[in-house]
Symmetry: C2
Subunit: 286 residues, 2 copies
């Protein structure tokens, strides 16, 4: 999200605006998956300690990439932006070398930027175990750097997409706080009811259709003149740049459910530290 | 190019294969330009010394990004690959931490990997002066890190694309050495004749048409279901994610001419150190 375009919080939190960002991020995610799919699986880069002599580390080659790239991005103040979350623990990363940007306060609790659900470790886990083997041939082609560079790009885009759930939750909460408050205050919080309030099955169904069509366009073949080639599903599977089912399955099985976890987790903590008078005022609105 | 897929040099140097790579790189370049176009111009990141206190350097913010990212990529052996060229001088970059890959020898002279024409500095120059101002709004939105990250991605892709000219030259030279040799050996070398031998105006015309169509697809708008929206040129200009004319103009005015410089420069040095007997044998083929 471009937080510094001079708009105020209510404009930035409009659901249309957030949806626009999420739809735009689909393009980034699909394209970075296509870039990754050019290289072999290179299983070795995901194995802890496989390069322990070279890297002087028990971690994996990919973890080394994440650490090095995130260390540099931290110096360039990436993780001071409310929609960015590092895979490496923040305390292990260097401080920004330039002053911070002034962001409007959009989320309730700054601490909520690091949800108690550690979503990035789950993202890394499903990506390495399920997505990479699904979109790459099972080869070691030696392109360890190229592959891990694309992995980092995919992971960063997925992390932004999934943590954007916090902005979705804040926007929906503010539009009808009275609907959420009883479920947040019940003990324990009624996570099922909260999930129900933010889930729109018809929106999710549309998302998956849109994603499939985008993956067909971006991952399909072009004619020699750059127009989109009309291919059957079987031809696309054989000739396309990426397996479309893998892209759709990733959203259906991982991205959407994890976003929901982030959304619910954010809502559970939405009233932490909020004065009773404010809660009563919200309830009085109903 | 995936140099390690077990194919031999003649397969890797087939013109069809090289063309396939160049066409694939168009997608990467267009998409990274679209990603950059999300952010403002942020002119400050291109000005030498604008962050001299923070970076302790007289260079620009972008040069700092190039240096830091290339330093890391050098450790991951990126610049040992015959199709990769760093913007930072190699002697300022760290050594690879892992052993080198075994690449088949595809180019004549390893020294030719660093052509006497310093093409990367020209790429950086046209990109900063002509491309970024053409695809971004003239704003400082403070997204210095996001903008420079995308700049590095565009620059790396452009550098690969343009230096690929060496493989094109080698492939064309080997297919008809007798046509090239007299122009290489004339004193001074006949660069115009060499350029004529590698230039196919009809291929270039097709490339620009293909590029325009790809930019329309990737940079255009999608319908809510992810199918490509049919828009007029004027609508695209107003609503699209990137100015298509800028993409086409970049290839026409910069990428194609600079690639030709690389190709001719490579050919001029193609016979350096080649024994007379080999040259005679090639000439005898005619």
């Amino acid at each position: 999200m471009n937080f510094t375009s001079g708009e105020d919080a209510s404009q930035l939190l409009s659901l249309d605006r957030i949806r626009g960002q999420l739809i735009r991020l689909e393009d980034t995610i699909i394209f970075s998956l296509i870039e990754r799919a050019q290289f072999g699986l290179n299983e070795k880069i995901y194995q802890a300690g496989a390069f322990k002599d070279e890297l002087d580390s028990q971690g994996s080659w990919l973890e080394w990439f994440l650490y090095e790239i995130e260390s540099f991005h931290a110096k360039a103040r990436r993780y001071t932006s409310p929609d960015e979350h590092s895979f490496t623990p923040l305390e292990k990363l260097p401080k920004p070398v330039i002053g911070l940007q002034a962001y409007p306060t959009l989320l309730h609790d700054p601490a909520a930027r690091h949800p108690s659900v550690n979503v990035n470790s789950k993202i890394l886990d499903f990506y390495v175990k399920h997505i990479v083997p699904g979109i790459t041939p099972p080869l070691d082609d030696g392109n360890y750097g190229s592959a891990a560079t694309r992995d980092v790009e995919v992971l960063q885009a997925l992390s932004r997409r999934i943590h954007f759930g916090m902005f979705v939750s804040e926007s929906k909460f503010l539009s009808a706080p009275q609907d959420f408050i009883p479920h947040i205050l019940s003990n324990p919080p009624n996570t099922e009811a909260l999930a129900g309030l933010i889930t729109k099955p018809e929106v999710e169904a549309k998302l998956l259709i849109r994603l499939r069509n985008k993956a067909r366009v971006y991952g399909g073949e072009m004619n020699a003149d750059g127009t989109v080639m009309e291919l059957s599903d079987a031809e696309l599977k054989a000739r396309g740049k990426i397996d479309i089912e893998q892209v759709v399955g990733m959203y259906r099985d991982w991205v959407i459910p994890l976003t929901k976890d982030v959304e619910v987790d954010y809502l559970i903590h939405r009233l932490d530290g909020v004065p009773r008078s404010q809660i009563d005022a919200w309830l009085g609105q109903s």
